[in-house]
């Protein structure tokens, strides 16, 4: 034990500067998060975001330095390391290195847990958040250590890392090509097959496999000394992980047997930190005073990729000559009116004609100028295959419509900053400025899992998934009158009503506009702002054809 502590202290001394930097980065990130929770950043927003982005990058670099540095301090590779000729037990060194790496993994997780606990999270959320943080961070740290184990210096580590990246990239390219060639996508609509769950299962398996394999490689390399075998195992493990990510067949995250949550079930799970409780006079969501909205809603098909796209002209000529682009709707646009209608039923949507939403994908086929000149005015036939996600709207929460009211669902917190209601004849315009904040850390993932909601971004690496997840749609519902208003897009915000105001990070500010007839103060007093979000429930493959297409105007 004393030998273990002796080495541990030595490594801590060696890594004291990176450790200090790590803690500083965490402090800065958390400080920024807390600022984002309670204040509108105003003009300083972009600066704060740049600072946060820089801090995040430094944080990742420091993590790399810690994970790699502790191995390179006593590298098992080579014949020149000081420790190799000293009376060290290899087992003790291996355990000490693993413990050090565990500290590197756990410190940020523990800090996040403390913060989350301060925000009022319960033990279940804390437990899941801890597991989530560990599962997210462990494979990264241990994989870095496993690569470092094959090197004696940072330079060698960098070269090995680059080679593994290149190798993995090539292997991925080959795999993707094989998949496309053999059309492994299942034809036909596969609604309800929980592909999102399967995807998450695969990622989780990869994360666990990478963590376990990397840990074993580190221990094994310290205990015995087969360097070439280590490199082979690291490479094989990277390749196996990639294959697992693509082909893992078992969906163990699916909870098909679970009842689909009803609104009141969801509402019953709301919890507030005292600081975040809605202002007096608002509807207490804990009491379940919510409109009864049935779930699930209808599904939305969102094209994501297309292959075999061909336009054939009467002359027999085919394009594209330089590929094509399928511009998918952004996350913020991935909803359709029909789905919302189904979601808010039996309430009537009052402002259907005013609601604006861009739907579908646009296919762009670039052609060279001379081709365009030659084919201008010609009409041809278009065909191709499309891969699409099938999304469904899911209720995520609501809050009373009053300035300053706040609500949280999962990690998300929404605050109504201002309400402007102006009557213009038979209709009224209600503008609501929202600030959507978040709890720090990867809690989004944790909540997604603990909340039995599809983990659409499980393991995606977004640190602040809550704010980055902008696939929500807001509806103003008056439960007493069974009426609802869809949020429409304000001028100047383009076609992305949910776009973040600063760089897509952290705090999201939204200006929602509800335009509808017959809206008065009494209607607003009884209204609840309800948020839905899109979740992926399946994937589909289909073909498309159009008999009469022509080249559009050139774009510059």
């Amino acid at each position: 034990m004393s030998a273990f502590l002796h080495h541990f202290r030595k490594d801590c001394r060696r890594m004291s500067l990176p450790f200090a930097l790590l803690l500083l980065c965490l402090a800065l990130l958390l400080a920024r998060d807390f600022v984002a929770l309670d204040h509108t950043t105003g003009n300083l927003g972009p600066l704060i975001e740049i600072a946060k982005l820089s801090t995040s990058i430094i944080y990742q670099i420091v993590t790399l330095i810690l994970a790699v540095g502790v191995i390179l301090e006593d590298p098992p590779k080579g014949t020149t390391a000081f420790w190799l000729t000293r009376p060290h037990s290899r087992r003790v060194i291996a355990m000490e290195k693993l413990c050090f790496l565990a500290v590197v993994i756990l410190i940020p997780v523990l800090v996040n847990l403390v913060v989350i606990a301060c925000c009022g999270a319960g033990p279940r959320i804390l437990a899941v958040a801890a597991a989530s943080g560990i599962v997210d961070r462990t494979p990264v740290v241990l994989a870095l250590a496993a690569i470092a184990i094959t090197a004696e210096t940072f330079g060698q580590f960098a070269i090995t890392g680059i080679l593994i990246l290149i190798g993995t990239g090539i292997a991925t390219g080959i795999t993707v090509a094989l998949i496309k060639m053999h059309s492994l996508h299942t034809a036909g609509v596969t609604v309800g097959t929980s592909s999102a769950h399967l995807e998450s299962s695969r990622i989780l398996v990869v994360q666990v496999a990478v963590a376990v394999l990397s840990g074993l490689i580190v221990v094994w390399r310290y205990l015995c000394r087969h360097g070439r075998l280590s490199v082979a195992v690291v490479s094989a493990a990277a390749f196996a992980s990639m294959l697992t990510a693509v082909y893992w067949p078992w969906d163990f995250l699916s909870r098909a047997a679970d009842p689909i949550p009803q609104v009141n079930d969801v509402a019953g799970r709301f919890s507030y930190h005292p600081r975040l409780r809605p202002s007096a006079g608002g509807t207490d969501l804990l009491e379940g005073n919510m409109p009864s909205i049935s779930l699930p809603s209808g599904e939305v098909v969102v094209p994501e990729d297309a292959t075999n796209v061909t336009v054939t002209w009467p002359s027999g000529e085919s394009i594209p000559e330089a590929g094509h682009f399928l511009l998918s709707p952004s996350r913020g646009d991935r909803w359709e009116i029909g789905a919302v209608i189904a979601a808010v039923a039996p309430a009537t949507i009052l402002n259907l004609p005013h609601a604006v939403a861009r739907r579908g994908a646009s296919l762009t086929i670039p052609v060279r100028g001379r081709v365009r000149d030659r084919l201008e005015g010609e009409r041809g036939k278009l065909s191709g295959t499309v891969y699409a996600a099938i999304d469904r709207l899911e209720f995520s929460g609501g809050l009373p419509l009053s300035v300053g009211s706040r609500a949280s669902w999962g990690i998300r917190q929404v605050r109504v900053d201002s309400i402007e209601a102006s009557a213009t004849g038979a209709s009224a315009v209600v503008r609501v400025a929202l600030s959507e904040g978040f709890y720090p850390s990867n809690l989004a993932n944790a909540i997604d899992r603990s909340g039995r909601i599809f983990p659409t971004n499980f393991g995606s690496g977004y640190r602040f998934l809550g704010a980055a997840d902008s696939n929500g749609v807001f509806v103003l519902v008056n439960g007493r009158r069974n009426e609802a208003l869809l949020a429409s897009i304000l001028p100047g915000e383009g076609q992305r009503p949910d776009i973040d105001d600063v760089a897509g990070y952290a705090m999201t500010r939204r200006n929602l506009e509800f335009v509808g007839p017959g809206i008065d103060q009494a209607w607003l007093e009884g209204a609840t702002l309800v948020r839905y979000r899109l979740i992926e429930v399946g994937r589909t493959t289909g073909t498309f054809e159009a008999d009469d297409v022509g080249l559009g105007q050139p774009e510059f």
């Binding site: 004393s2 030998a3 002796h6 030595k10 001394r13 060696r14 301090e73 014949t79 020149t80 390391a81 000081f82 190799l84 000729t85 000293r86 009376p87 060290h88 037990s89 000394r225």
Partner: protein, 304 residues
């Protein structure tokens, strides 16, 4: 008793045979110098002995234990200093000594103090800011302060200026009187080895050419010069122990690697009748060079 013993120890790097059937025995209590030109296999031998490399074939026993099974207990009785060793240069000298001290139950604080005084190491300076000589001294200190049974020095003089080298050797000689050490030192610095070692092993092309006590080695080597020889009708037949032979008109020079006093001198006179024979002792450097030349000639002959 031998503290180091190797049997048919071999090591290959790909197609290159760095060590080829080495049979080496280092007597306990000796100061054994492993001499050899660059690429002879000295460092490979030491790395095999220290379990830094695995042998391709053959065995090595160090302190009576198979080198592949050297564990913390054996390492606590071995000191190792190498020019290539990666020391934790971010530590101060004091921190470095403090880090090593708890690793060795036999650490001798008094000896540590003696060595510190002798080496004049600046305690508060980081290792990375030390000169090469100082760095080697620091490495030597933490390899000696626990009175190891075996001290292995791999090219310790490399890159040291003459003054530092002299101090280093003197320091080694002084501390060698303090306890019962066995020192194995590999180098191609013949003068330092001659000053330091009482046993010499010469290694070349991965093979041990000779290994014996320094006195014996010096005693059995003589430079022989025969002048004023009348022209001979044919090639003279000379014993194989007469190496590094040079012949010119009326003059023959060679090194007798099996000099045996008057018997040998009688043989010279019989072989070269009418010539004036002069015999003189040789320095280790001369012996080493003569042997290296002889080996080269044998290799060339074999290749031809």
């Amino acid at each position: 008793m031998n503290i180091i013993e190797t049997k048919q120890l071999s090591r290959r790097y790909g197609r290159t045979e760095a060590l080829n059937g080495l049979d080496l025995a280092v007597p306990e209590g000796s100061m054994f110098g492993l001499l050899g030109p660059n690429g002879a296999g000295k460092t490979t031998t030491i790395k095999l002995l220290m379990n830094l490399l695995a042998p391709t074939s053959g065995t090595a026993r160090v302190l009576g234990v198979d080198s592949r099974k050297l564990g913390p207990a054996e390492m606590a009785a071995i000191g190792y200093v190498s020019e290539n060793q990666q020391l934790p240069v971010w530590m101060t000298v004091e921190g470095f000594i403090g880090y090593c001290r708890p690793l060795y139950p036999t650490w001798d604080l008094a000896l540590e103090g003696t060595l510190l005084d002798q080496f004049e190491l600046p305690l508060d300076r980081k290792l990375k800011h030390l000169s090469r000589g100082m760095l080697m001294k620091a490495a030597l200190l933490v390899s000696m302060a626990y009175r190891p049974r075996l001290l292995v020095l791999d090219e310790p003089f490399s890159g040291l200026d003459p003054l530092t080298r002299d101090e280093f050797v003197r320091g080694l000689l002084e501390v060698s009187t303090v306890g019962e050490w066995t020192i194995l030192v590999s180098s191609h610095d013949i003068e330092e080895i001659e000053r330091l070692c009482d046993w010499i092993g010469v290694i070349d092309s991965g093979r041990l050419q000779s290994a014996e006590a320094t006195d014996s080695l010096l005693e059995r080597h003589r430079r022989v010069e025969v002048a004023g020889l009348p022209p001979s009708g044919g090639t003279r037949v000379m014993p194989g122990s007469w190496i590094d032979r040079e012949e010119s008109a009326g003059l023959v020079r060679f090194v007798d690697s099996g000099y045996a006093g008057e018997d040998a001198e009688r043989l010279y006179r019989e072989t070269f009748p009418g010539g004036a024979v002069s015999v003189r002792p040789m320095a280790l450097r001369e012996i080493f060079i003569a042997q290296a030349r002889a080996q080269r000639a044998i290799r060339k002959g074999a290749a031809a």
